[in-house]
Amino acid sequence: MSTLVAVLVGVLVASGLYLLMGKSLLRQIIGLALLSHAAHITILLSAGLRGGVPVIGSSPGPMTDPLPQALILTAIVISFGVTAFLLALGYRMHLFGGEERHGEEKRDDR
């Protein structure tokens, strides 16, 4: 199970980087979102995937460390906010003359 999730992280990083290398602004934003989700899943993985409930209760049995879940909850909220900000920024750049292609810089006079 852990191996499978590790492969998933690899796939997410690879697709994220691929999208980030492109020139379309929207693709770059999606790429960045995929990269952060790869990091979130790695945090989940760091506790080990044992399949138990993450609560310290009275019931015996395998229990999962609850801390990484709290950590990724925070991290997801943050990356959601930043992604929203990036989309707003991208929209603004789009309004400034419809230039969606981020990589092609015009050498303007400073």
Partner: protein, 486 residues
């Protein structure tokens, strides 16, 4: 009552700007915003001065949030290093805000963004927990994205997009590092990590430390992760640029100092960091020599100066680390002063291109004097603070026989002076009838120039504080013991 107030003091530099920011978001009138913003910054400054006075003797003041004991709860720690960094952040925050108000650039939610930025920076300096450091970084970065893109033109939006993207990638490395270190040790509290890291599998620890090096290194703009900085920092108006250029990269530098001494101690000069330090110094200053606008030159200088700080860290002796911390504090004051001079030029002349400027010294004598003091201090000429900062680093380098990096640091000082002369000879001398900068734009930079002179004349006071801070980092037993209540 007083005892409880003192015990709660490490939270105040975070809480005061946070509350001020929340009040500011409610959107009072412009006059009330200015009063509230400046009052909040002043209160933060007062709290941070109290914090420095309380930790002066080497005390460590931990706070366990919610009363949960150290490895389980969220820990805030104020030690000498944290207190000094909070003090300088409050100072630069106040001076930069005064300049922004004086230049009339504080429209809409700038004041609120400013206080949120101060919250994030102070939080990063006072947290004792790796994941909280990440959250503090994000609070700080989101505020900085806002201030950077506020009122943007098309070119600014494009440069800002790059800044946001590079910081997101660095944050991803940070999270990977946190995940690895958690899986290896089962804790994220820095004091607890200091105990557990030596027992953890060496390979995982090494991988985690490299992930964190990339994350902090990108934010601190060390070689080879510095390329984003000059683009981003040449965008915003003068006051914001001074706050950014002074403080933001130094939060990365601070994290490197904290994490690579307490959590991952190297025990001797670290070759990787030494190479990085030399590269940062050299490429930063070479980049500066090639630029043709005042603020871009100054932005490249931020990079080369970060190299000196990393050199102090890489030497890993107590003298080296004390010198590095001294350099951080000196640099923040001087660089913000220079960026404020650049901002004053930009505000009054409407350009900062060297080929369109000239003759500033003729009718802006005070501005020229401030620039000269700060530039000489940056290059390390006595009797200003920069001389003592470089002297400490060079002595530390010679003590541990790292002659190569010492040689680079001396050459880079000369090159720094050269590029400063380039600004001085073209913008301040030469032909031209520039407008006169009003006193309200000059005063904030003058305050910082006076501080560098004062520190230069009384270097012993600051040195004793920074060597106390360095002692906590090189012998973390006291830090660890106090936080974990041993």
């Amino acid at each position: 009552m007083t005892a409880r107030l003192i015990a709660a003091l490490p939270t105040l530099p975070i809480i005061i700007p946070l509350l001020t920011a929340i009040l500011l978001i409610a959107g009072p009138s412009r006059r009330a915003q200015r009063t509230l913003g400046l009052a909040g910054s002043l209160a933060t400054l007062a709290a941070s001065i109290a914090l420095v006075l309380l930790t002066r003797g080497g005390q460590v003041m931990p706070i366990q949030a919610g009363g949960w004991a150290a490895p389980y709860g969220i820990t805030l720690v104020a030690d000498m290093l944290g207190a000094l960094m909070v003090l300088i952040a409050a100072l630069i925050g106040l001076v930069g805000l005064v300049f922004t108000v004086a230049a009339g650039r504080d429209d809409r939610f700038v004041h609120a963004g400013w206080q949120f930025l101060l919250t994030g920076i102070n939080w990063a300096f006072l947290t004792g927990d790796l994941f909280n450091l990440y959250v503090a970084y994000e609070v700080m970065l989101i505020s900085s994205y806002f201030l950077l893109t506020h009122g943007t033109t098309q070119r600014q939006a494009r440069e800002a997009f790059g800044y946001v993207a590079i910081n997101l990638v660095a944050s991803m490395f940070f999270l990977f590092g946190v995940a690895l270190i958690y899986s290896a040790t089962g804790t994220l509290n820095m004091a607890h990590l200091a105990e557990r890291v030596p027992l953890a599998p060496a390979g995982t620890v090494r991988a985690a430390s490299m992930m964190l090096l990339v994350a902090f290194g990108t934010k601190a703009a060390i070689f080879p992760f510095y390329f984003w900085l000059p683009h981003a920092y040449a965008i915003p108006p003068g006051g914001v640029a001074a706050f950014f250029g002074g403080m933001l990269t130094k939060v990365g530098v601070y994290s490197l100092f904290r994490v690579f001494t307490i959590v991952f101690p190297s025990g001797g000069p670290d070759p990787l960091l030494l190479w990085s330090a030399a590269g940062t110094m050299l490429f930063g200053v070479l980049g500066a020599l090639a630029q043709d606008t005042v603020r871009r030159i100054l932005s490249f200088h931020i990079i080369s100066q970060v190299g000196y700080m990393i050199m102090g860290l890489a030497l890993a002796s107590q003298l080296g680390i004390a010198g590095g911390i001294f350099y951080v504090l000196h640099h923040i004051v001087v660089k913000s002063g220079l960026l404020l001079v650049g901002g004053a030029i930009q505000e009054t002349q409407r350009t900062d291109r060297l080929d369109r400027l000239g003759g500033l010294a003729r009718n802006n004598g005070v501005l020229a004097l401030i620039f000269m003091v700060c530039a000489l201090s940056l290059a390390g000429v006595p009797p200003f603070s920069g001389f003592f900062a470089k002297l400490l680093l060079i002595r530390a380098g010679l003590e541990v026989r790292q002659y190569g990096v010492v040689a680079v640091s001396i050459i880079v000082s000369v090159l720094t002076l050269m590029s400063m002369l380039k600004i001085y000879t073209t913008a301040f001398w030469g032909p031209g009838e520039p407008r006169r900068a009003p006193a309200r734009l000059v005063a904030p930079a003058a305050a910082l120039a006076l501080i560098t002179i004062a520190v230069g004349l009384r270097a012993q006071v600051l040195y004793s504080l920074t060597s106390t801070a360095a002692a906590h980092l090189t012998q973390p037993a006291r830090y660890v013991g106090t936080v974990l209540k041993k």
